[in-house]
Symmetry: C2
Amino acid sequence: MIRLHLPDDLSAGAEITPAAPQAHYLVSVMRAKAGESVLLFNGRDGEWRARLTAADRRACRLVVEALTRPQTAPPDLELVVALVKRARLETIVEKAVELGCRRIRLVVTRRTHADRARPPRLQAIATEAAEQTGRLDVPEVVEPEKLDAVLDGWDAGRRLMFCDEAGDDPGAEWGGSDGRARPALEALSGAAESAPWAVLIGPEGGFDPGERARLRGLSFVTPVTLGPRILRADTAVIAALTLWQAALGDWRPTES
Amino acid sequence: MIRLHLPDDLSAGAEITPAAPQAHYLVSVMRAKAGESVLLFNGRDGEWRARLTAADRRACRLVVEALTRPQTAPPDLELVVALVKRARLETIVEKAVELGCRRIRLVVTRRTHADRARPPRLQAIATEAAEQTGRLDVPEVVEPEKLDAVLDGWDAGRRLMFCDEAGDDPGAEWGGSDGRARPALEALSGAAESAPWAVLIGPEGGFDPGERARLRGLSFVTPVTLGPRILRADTAVIAALTLWQAALGDWRPTES
């Protein structure tokens, strides 16, 4: 069944005339017909089944029928990711949505070559990914900021899992009892449940020594390694978010 | 430093005239110059530093100088993945190489829409990914086979981690004490170390009920779930391989 994110309020019996982008998606992209049922969500009111009462290019209307799932939010996990080339950045946004991030912050580091992003395009990708993956919310994609500014303003109550790329002097300078960063799963295993976290992934080429020194001195940072091979930025994002969800997030076993 | 996979034997002092594709890569793509050092590997003899003694379009020659790393192989992990659309399949091959798979087997399932792949193109992607990620071997990409034939010929000494897509009746029929598939990390935690494994990822749209029933009846299969959201095939591949490497593979803590 088609799932559609839209800004309108949702409640039983509500009649909705979708705005142009959503109407275009339903009628022209998905070729939905009058009488068909679709699922709607707006990030506030849960997921609702609705029926198309008109579906052509001049008019598109929906009647909201019944709540299918109450509103829920994924665990409080954010992604902080350095700008990379456009195609990989778009992949990163899609995957961060599938893997349950609440917010995606773009950062410019000293070795970041790309310095532009198109947040509206990335926000559209996030919306489509949320529709596809079955989420009830759409993560916000935040305009690029400098890494130093992000760290200056960091809320120390949120842990930051700092993923060091394996190829650049892998962890030899890190903190920890033996002076090395620990494998991500081990480093996360002892962490408190239900604390807010973020995952930090650098540019291809890594962080520079000054950035690494600063990160390693911050009380809220947990440095981790992601295996013995060099990972591209998009692979590192998916791997890190997966390990976090498995260790601390909503991929953990549920009580039955 | 440039890393190059080539078929030639490698030993100290060996003089190599690279075949056309490798010469083209060095001279025209990477613009390497005579006198420059590069790293070579062939999947058998470890990684060697070599020096370019000629580097133009008419002649490209290398002299092998010193061993930089002895030959090693990643853990015995294979990927069995249903054909998906070309761009996502290419991503899957790149990521499986970064995540340390030894072999990539393409399969056709009952719900597979794509029925063609270009193994030579995929093999080239695997080679480039191996060069980039720092591996000493290049995984083989195997021509598509039918899933049933793959299971008919399965070596029961190799465990198969069967990833059920969350969106399709998530695990309700599965084996296990409570009748459900377990989260991947939990399911892998008790497994014997150093056994050979494979990861099975289905097409977008999932396995059909007959396939799922067969898989669930096989002694070598461990069914697992990958969280509460619907994942695209490429995301599922990366997530499953990451969890395997973290739980049983070469992302585990090393003794110090």
